[in-house]
């Protein structure tokens, strides 16, 4: 329904730069998640798209047309807020009716006492009622239409807020952390519901969250923001497996990716904790950081050793916290098989396959590993 383009968006509040030049293009029908830690500017960016906040410079275009001078309601975008922002004095029905009444009724028809007497209003009200009933059926909130927001549970309010957004058939939906006020169980449930809604409506969704799980599970693309900059955008799998920056690697994934200090030798080889990895890169010699996801750590064999300092058994999986021998470093490994947990305090050897390694330079940028070198290293394993 709509394609949203952002070019060189800058925003500062009282001299602090919140957004430092965002260029981004949201394709038609995409479910895009803006993720990042709190204060990274993701909500501000969403509010700029919505038109609730003017940017200091840069341009927002919807379907190729600049919308910077257009009021929020005229942009025809719908927004779902973290606090749902339902009008507390209106019933569910009237809450959902507000955007329709504002658009379809004239100012005179909206007058409190005189309005209902006008003949045109009755016809329009009937159309509005039909639209709301249809939406309520879709969202399963038909029995709640007469209640006030105060009488609804968190999940129900969430649905009403989505209904208020849907009813106006907007060009795109904007979500500002809509699930963070719900309890954990409901959040997982609503996650599936929102993803399903997106598939059904085939509309553009822009979804702001600080919860990487929400971003990973629902979106077609994730845009990771840090400190007012958009660092990386890509599919959830790309973001997870192929982070371009150490901050992205650390932000996405739970438990966090393990970061170990490493060194790039003059010949391009990489040492971690004094052990040479069978990998090489083109980068100049010096310090680097090596990241390995917890599920890629192989316990029981390998060049490194550590002792078990903590165990987290979640039933379906377990996390083993290791103190690496001779250092103050800790490392987390995921064990898929919880029936054979190592004993607390026991010493374990561990290692990781070369393709699990992501190397970052001291500034945090990803260092590409040399392909032919990696290939050669794998050869002995194949033989």
């Amino acid at each position: 329904m709509a394609q949203i383009e952002l070019s060189a968006i800058r925003k500062s509040f009282d001299g602090t730069d919140v957004l430092k030049g965002i260029d981004f293009r949201i394709e038609d029908g995409e479910f895009i998640s803006l993720v990042g830690p709190s204060g990274c500017g993701k909500s501000t960016l969403l509010r700029i798209i919505a038109g609730l906040e003017p940017q200091n410079s840069g341009e927002v275009r919807i379907d190729g047309r600049p919308v910077d001078a257009i009021r929020p309601s005229a942009r025809n975008l719908a927004m779902v807020f973290q606090s749902y922002a339902l009008y507390p004095h209106l019933s569910t029905f009237d809450n959902i009716a507000v955007p329709l009444r504002m658009r379809r009724l004239s100012a005179i028809e909206r007058l409190p006492l005189l309005g209902p007497l006008l003949p045109g209003r009755r016809v329009k009200e009937r159309a509005i009622r039909a639209d709301i009933t249809a939406i309520a059926e879709q969202l399963d909130i038909a029995p709640l239409l007469r209640r006030k927001p105060g009488q609804l549970s968190g999940g129900q309010r969430q649905r009403v807020a989505v209904g208020r957004a849907m009813v106006r058939e907007p060009r795109a939906f904007l979500f500002d952390e809509p699930l963070s006020n719900l309890d954990a169980k409901l959040r997982v449930h609503m996650r599936a519901e929102l993803a399903e809604l997106h598939r059904r409506l085939e509309a553009t969704f822009v979804y702001v969250t600080h919860d990487q799980a929400e971003a990973m599970t629902m979106s077609s693309r994730i845009a990771v923001m840090m400190g007012g900059e958009l660092i990386q955008a890509g599919t959830p799998a790309q973001i997870y497996n192929d982070p371009s920056d150490i901050r992205v690697a650390e932000f996405i994934g739970s438990p966090k990716i393990n970061i170990l200090p490493g060194r790039i030798r003059n010949d391009g080889g990489i040492d971690v904790l004094g052990t040479a990895l069978r990998l090489a890169c083109k980068a100049t010699a010096g310090d680097c950081r090596v990241g390995v996801r917890p599920e890629r750590i192989e316990l029981g064999a390998g060049p490194f050793s550590g002792s078990v300092v903590h165990l987290e058994n979640l039933g379906a999986e377990a996390f083993v916290h290791l103190a690496i021998e001779g250092t103050a470093l800790r490392l987390i490994a995921r064990l898929a098989d919880v029936r054979h947990l190592p004993a607390m305090g026991s010493a374990l050897a561990f290692g990781f396959p070369p393709d699990a390694v992501r190397v970052f330079d001291p500034a945090g940028k990803r260092i590409e590993l040399r392909a032919e070198q990696a290939e050669r290293i794998r050869e002995p394993a194949h033989v």
Binding site: L52, Y87, M102
Partner: protein, 278 residues
């Protein structure tokens, strides 16, 4: 045992103190009712008794209504206080909304000026305002009673503080739904602020219903008199004040306020519990 004993002693002491306080507050009212019920001879008798020997409340009331057009004065009071309150709300709500929710240069300075305005007693501006009304030719009219009070800095301050507690998301949602800024004030903020408006209404109505000073200086015509002036009319230096009818009239003009206050108080408490919901 000794502990519960000391606690009850404390409780008794506390209640005695509270009752004493209440008695001091209520004494003038009780005295008013008592005097209103006494015939003229008993009012001036040297002995003090609260309950009259002969009840003369009805006679006093009849005399009070006969001597002055009390109903007209009550109507004046209603017209003036309601007009003042409605206009105050019409000014205070948009102003408070701007001060609480809009970002513009000089907002803090303006708010400081509002706070400063609260410090100025109405008597300080009485003469300039009187002269202004004189120049405009509005003295001795309803307008003279209403206009000087239409901008209530206290009202702006109170509503602004309340609006600060209304979540910004609600305002943004209204903007997304296409409600104009003025529409937000009346359709979103006012319904959310009913408890605060009620509280302000109590202050405003009580203050202007009971106001004696301002009507006394701007009014000449008898038919425009507000209730407090009407009561004062019963004081008569030459013929001697007739206290029975005076007190009866005082009772009559206080009654609407007491009834309205009791009603509003219940609404007020309802309103406060209403704001507990998100």
């Amino acid at each position: 045992m000794s502990r519960t004993h000391s606690v009850t002693l404390r409780a008794v002491l506390r209640h005695v103190l509270l009752i004493a306080g209440a008695a001091i507050m209520l004494a003038p009212f009780i005295w008013m009712i008592s005097t209103a019920s006494k015939p003229q001879t008993e009012v001036f008798s040297s002995e003090l008794h609260l309950i009259p020997y002969r009840f003369a409340l009805v006679e006093n009331l009849r005399e009070a209504f006969a001597k002055a057009n009390l109903l007209r004065f009550l109507l004046n009071g209603v017209i003036v206080t309601i007009s003042i309150f409605v206009l105050q709300v019409m000014v205070a709500l948009p102003a408070a909304y701007a001060l609480a929710k809009l970002r513009f240069v000089g907002r803090e300075t303006l708010f400081a000026l509002v706070l400063f305005g609260i410090l100025i007693p109405p008597q300080a501006t009485a003469i300039p305002v009187f002269l202004l009304l004189h120049k405009v030719g509005l003295l001795d009219s309803y307008a003279a009673l209403v206009l000087p009070f239409t901008i209530s800095v206290f009202g702006i301050f109170l509503m602004r503080q309340f609006f600060k507690t209304v979540p910004d998301d609600l305002v943004d949602a209204a903007r997304m739904d296409g409600i104009s800024e003025f529409g937000i004030v009346w359709r979103v903020m006012l319904p959310a602020a009913i408890p605060a408006v009620t509280a302000f209404g109590i202050f405003s109505v009580v203050a202007h219903w009971n106001d004696y000073f301002w009507p006394l200086i701007v009014l000449n015509s008898e038919q425009l008199r507000t209730p407090p002036l009407a009561v004062a009319h019963f004081r008569n230096n030459e013929a001697g004040t007739s206290y029975g009818p005076l007190m009866a009239a005082a009772m009559v003009i206080i009654a609407p306020l007491v009834i309205a206050f009791l009603f509003a108080q219940r609404r007020f408490i309802e309103g406060i519990t209403l704001t507990g919901i998100k």
